[in-house]
Symmetry: C2
DNA sequence: CTTTGTGCAAAGGCTTTGCATGCTT
DNA sequence: AAGCATGCAAAGCCTTTGCACAAAG
């Protein structure tokens, strides 16, 4: 599974400088970043943290709901600060171009489907793959 | 990227007995199976094929459009025979329960978004994660 | 005879875990 | 002093690749 949330009360994960650094770096980036990219970003910014710590920080941030995570088709997990407006992506399978799209209808659809089946929506992952205008 | 489709004409990938076995095994299963699960299924069915062959067969089947592939949140890629009706999933992040949902609206939405941006839709991936009735 | 498929084992990439150390409380 | 956070390195998992051999055209 992606999250670990079962046993009720969340012990209020500690907010350490490293975790803040990770969260802020992600917020600054604005879009999706992989753990390794973030690790690099932090290093470039002069903040030296271990890769494992980045992974652990991200796991915690996801758990407390400050960060969203999704898995790309190549299997890498990417993270994004929760703040920004929610949107999805159109990805060109040839050149890799990515276009962000936002449309409430999908969000509504997801909630509705979940409600219908007694689910409590936590997250949804919607990515559309195809060929962009230039590659057709 | 997930697919390799660029250079126009597809050389008609060869249809060998192993590939047929993989395709059929997947069709029989009906739902999503990972490469490793399929490898196991085939072994159980008495069809001995190497794991690498299963991966290669699946890659080809995806390329020629006989199989759909999607990546789960844990990073594993799962495959499904293209035939069956297209649907998406509601996945419980706690117990793993999966519910299939079908609704044209998402399909329409995906096509529309793509068209609006000049994309040619090839595939889309829509999964909703949450907690099911039993786990709430 | 040339081309493509197959197996096996090794290599790769991303992520998690074990263990000792350093802070925080 | 007790408990969690960190780093580093090792281990894990899924997937891909290299290479030699067999099969198909």
């Amino acid at each position: 599974m992606t999250t670990t949330p079962p046993t009720a009360t969340r012990p209020t994960a500690r907010l350490t400088p490293r975790r803040e650094a990770v969260a802020q770096c992600l917020a600054t980036a604005g879009d999706f970043r992989s753990a390794q990219e973030l690790h690099g970003d932090l290093a470039n910014a002069g903040t030296k943290v271990g890769l494992a710590t980045v992974y652990r920080a991200l796991a915690d941030l996801v758990e407390v709901g400050r960060v969203d995570a999704l898995t790309r088709p190549d299997g890498e997990t990417v993270y994004r600060a929760c703040s920004g407006s929610h949107h999805h992506h159109l990805v060109c399978t040839e050149c890799g171009t990515t276009v962000e799209v936002a449309d409430d209808r999908v969000e509504q659809w997801a909630s509705e489907m979940a409600r219908q089946h007694g689910f409590d929506v936590v997250q949804h992952q919607v990515e559309v793959f195809g060929r962009c205008a230039n590659c057709r």
